[in-house]
């Protein structure tokens, strides 16, 4: 984060301004990615007028960075009307997230004319047989890459977003090389999000620890490996009083149906803009204020963890595991793979596992039990 952006975010935090908001314009999609957490039916999306009204309220509330995502945003016939309104009438800094398969040269030129800040495009592999097997749409890689080139040729900032999963775990160097060749940025994210209905089966697509270990030790991705994989300094009083993340503090998320959540990955309903003003939900929702009240020192299990000072713990994933103050197992695993030191949550689970076996099998020696459950 640049110094000025950091300064702006700190100011927004102090003034309780939601500086950055993501709106999913639709959950409908023209791809069927195997890891996607969304239900792609339309259950009553906000109308054009409702979205424009929301944008008015958000500009009034001080929102500056607006991410338009989905589903696939270009499936909305009013997409450019919404984008034009957001940019020219309300002055947002707009970022787009899309699979881009509906972006041709004409659309790319229009996006440029409207001054979009960046376009993030999902690219899972440099090989069509891998990418298309994830999106379940034949020819989708070619169409997405054509769009990347159209957008790039307009001088736009394009980011290839690569979600790492078992299907494409060997391909991230290929995606990175492709991005370099085209001259665009890349991101790599090994996080798989549970389905909206709570089904966690999709988590089985997550890469194992061996692949994570390899990723975390790739200098091209993490820079200084020793520094990246070092155990964080023990948390002091100041760091324990700090915020777990920006969700609900300077950022939030609005669904296509007007529901407001602290973050796209934090499905705690806090209100709906169809019957409340956006700013009232932001300032006065009990749920939003509960999220806002949590400091690192309030976390169960994590406060006693060796990684608390440097963990990427996602409160939304923790919430989806049943406790927004609890650990997020995916982040525990990342901390462990980085450092080789198990998290407090992992150790607690191990102890819990031992107790369960003890009840069932009554071992003769505690040492045998530890060996059996290690």
């Amino acid at each position: 984060m640049s110094g000025l952006l950091q300064e702006m975010t700190e100011k927004a935090l102090k003034l309780n301004i939601p500086i950055s908001v993501q709106i999913d314009l639709t959950y409908r999609c023209n791809e069927r990615c195997v890891h996607c957490y969304l239900d792609h039916d339309d259950h009553g999306e906000m109308t054009t007028a409702e979205i424009k009204h929301l944008l008015d309220e958000m500009a009034e509330a001080g929102v500056f960075i607006l991410t338009l995502s989905g589903g696939e945003i270009f499936l909305r016939k009013d997409f450019f009307e919404i984008l034009e309104y957001a940019r020219l009438q309300r002055g947002f800094c707009v970022k787009l997230k899309t699979n881009a398969i509906l972006i041709g040269e004409r659309e790319a030129a229009r996006i440029r004319d409207l001054g979009v800040e960046s376009i993030q495009i999902s690219i899972y592999s440099h090989r069509p047989e891998v990418h298309d097997a994830i999106t379940l749409v034949p020819g989708s890689l070619k169409r997405s890459l054509d769009a990347v080139r159209f957008l790039k040729s307009q001088g736009l900032r394009v980011i290839m977003a690569n979600v790492l999963m078992v299907q494409n775990m060997r391909d991230y160097p290929g995606v990175r090389a492709l991005a370099e060749e085209i001259g665009v940025d890349t991101t790599l994210d090994p996080t798989i999000t549970p389905m909206m209905d709570g089904d966690r089966g999709v988590l089985s697509l997550g890469v194992g620890q061996d692949t994570l270990r390899q990723v975390f030790r790739d200098t091209a991705l993490v820079g200084d490996v020793e520094e990246f994989c070092a155990i964080a300094d023990p948390a002091d009083e100041n760091s324990l009083s700090s915020l777990p993340c920006s969700a609900g503090h300077t950022n939030c998320y609005v669904s296509p149906y007007g529901d407001v959540f602290p973050c796209v990955q934090f499905p705690l309903p806090t209100g709906n803009v169809r019957n409340q003003r956006f700013i009232d939900i932001w300032r006065h929702s009990d749920q939003m204020n509960e999220v806002r009240s949590i400091r690192l020192k309030d976390l169960t299990t994590c406060t006693s963890c060796a990684h608390v000072g440097g963990c990427s713990r996602c409160p939304g994933l923790a919430y989806q595991e049943g406790n927004m103050r609890g650990p997020s197992s995916q982040d525990c695993e990342k901390s462990f793979v980085k450092t080789g030191v198990p998290s407090a949550n992992m150790l607690a689970k191990k102890r819990g596992g031992a107790n369960l076996v003890q009840i069932r099998s009554l071992p003769t020696s505690p040492n045998t039990m530890q060996g059996a459950t290690a």
Binding site: S2, L4, L5, M8, K11, A12, K14, L15, I17, I19, H53, D56, E57, A59, E60, G62, V63, F64, R87, L88, Q89, R90, G91, F92, C93, V94, D113, L114, G115, V116, E117, S118, R157, R277
Partner: protein, 109 residues
């Protein structure tokens, strides 16, 4: 001396936060904060009002400066902001469609 016109660049994003104007350049995503004079200039830059009028009506009353000196400084500032892709500067009126200034629009509903 010919008139100078200034307009907000439609590819720029802007928002007033806690009394300070934040600007994100559409050209390279650089973030800027504007000082008080630059903010006044940004808000008044509709492409149709000549710079000398902006100076006379908006800047001089605010800072109690001589119009000639203020106009010279404003012209320098406008060209500097144009160099960053924040404003457009021309000796002719600039048709713009008047992109948003980033200021609050007043309470809704």
């Amino acid at each position: 001396m010919s008139k100078l016109y200034v307009a907000r660049n439609p590819r720029v994003a802007a928002r007033g936060i806690g009394g300070e104007m934040m600007i994100m350049s559409g050209r390279d995503s650089t973030l800027f904060t504007l000082n008080k004079t630059a903010t006044i200039l940004w808000q008044a830059a509709d492409g149709a009002t000549p710079l000398d009028e902006i100076v006379q009506q908006r800047i001089c009353p605010e800072f109690e400066v001589q119009p000639t000196e203020a106009l010279r400084d404003a012209e320098t500032l406008a060209r500097e902001l144009a160099g960053h892709g924040i404003l457009q500067v021309s000796e002719e009126p600039i048709p713009t469609g008047n992109p948003a200034s980033g200021e609050p629009q007043g309470e809704k509903r």
